[in-house]
Amino acid sequence: MTIDRNIYKPFRAKLTDVIEESPLIKTFVLVPEEEFSFNTGQFIELSVDGIGEAPFTPSSSPVVTEKLEVTVMKTGYVTEFMHNLKPGVFMGIRGPYGRGYPVEKFFGKEVLILGGGCGLAPIRSLLYALENVKDKLEKVILCYGSKTPSDCIYKPLFTRLNKIEKFEAYRTVDKAEEGWNESVGVVTTLLNKVKINLKNSVAVVCGPPIMMKFGTIRLLEMGYKDDEIYLSMEKNMSCGLGKCGHCMMGEFFVCKHGPVFTYKELKETPDIWK
């Protein structure tokens, strides 16, 4: 007789390091006490003991299983507590949940990734996963936009990506600061300069709702078909189990049917950009 695991009970993970990415964003390095692995794009419910839990998509490589990294922006009650944590404490993890990026479907193709703001966190995990199978891919291009240069997280990532064979990375900011000599403007302007074979390409979009809406519209205009555009929808996931009703988006539970969807699956669903 199999004993079913308690789906509501988190397992513990030790916080071993806290990396400051920007004034409002930190990356937490966690070592789970139990065996844990995830597919890139899946999410976990991360809890602060006695305070609350919130959904996050790990930003680390899915191939590395002894530890995982979660990038957290301080936006509310629970994340504020998280930002005050010091290495050595234990956090709680439930998961992984949901449907991640179908990396095998990208084999033999060029992958165009459009990222914005904190969306770079799940994208970084996807990039690690793609790097791991780069022999099976034609090309990977990252176009990333943040509000200001200070908001651009994982600063060494771009230099590193441009050194990997088949990888290209471009970034832009909405508003430049002193010393910024790269592109200025919204992330869709970077799409003018990418050289991509539209007949053999998929696109991944991840970022704030406005960016995802404008990005998707531009990709469709470029010629991407609606089942070639992969969107990472963040919508109030709470139980992660398809039960509590909070992440319901039309006929879907984001926690069960997503968070990764193709645009084809979502195009009839109203209000997806809210």
Binding site: T172, D174, A176, S183, V184, G185, N192, I210, M211, R218
Partner: protein
């Protein structure tokens, strides 16, 4: 430096033109180089060339009464700019400056307009491409505006 039609075929902006049309454009075009901080044109300048950026990065912006330059965005490789050169009164709505060494295709806009009037198919294709550039510019500006409005 002059261009031929095969040079233009490599640039996405010139997709869907016929061989003959590409030859016409090549005949009206040249390649120009700009140094860092060189101004291609100022806001309110009268324009006589339509540009497509080949290499490098340019900054686009507007100036206020105090003559302070406000940098609104960058022009990326492959992008068309200076579209005001094709529409009366041919006055630029913004300034453009090179922020890295840049190479642009410069197309004589007066002669281009004559060709647009004379050849409907060429005219339609060219105006459609320019309209799409302006549409993208507007969409990106709205996106930028929404980003600023939502804290």
């Amino acid at each position: 430096m002059s261009l031929n039609k095969d040079d233009l075929k490599k640039i996405r902006f010139f997709d869907n033109y016929t061989e003959e049309q590409l030859s016409v454009i090549a005949g009206l075009s040249s390649i120009r180089d700009f140094q860092v901080k060189e101004i291609l044109f100022e806001q309110y300048d009268e324009l006589s060339e339509l540009f497509v950026l080949l290499e490098g990065t340019l900054s686009l912006g507007i100036s206020l009464a105090t003559e302070k330059r406000i940098h609104l965005g960058t022009i990326e490789e492959g992008q068309l700019f200076s579209w005001s050169a094709v529409f009366a009164p041919y006055i630029s709505t913004a300034w453009v400056m090179a922020i890295t060494p840049a190479k642009v295709i410069a197309i004589d806009s007066k002669k281009l307009n004559l060709k647009i009037e004379a050849d409907c198919d060429f005219g339609f294709k060219t105006m459609s491409k320019i309209a799409q550039t302006i549409s993208h510019r507007l969409s990106d500006t709205r996106f930028q505006l929404m980003n600023q409005m939502i804290i």
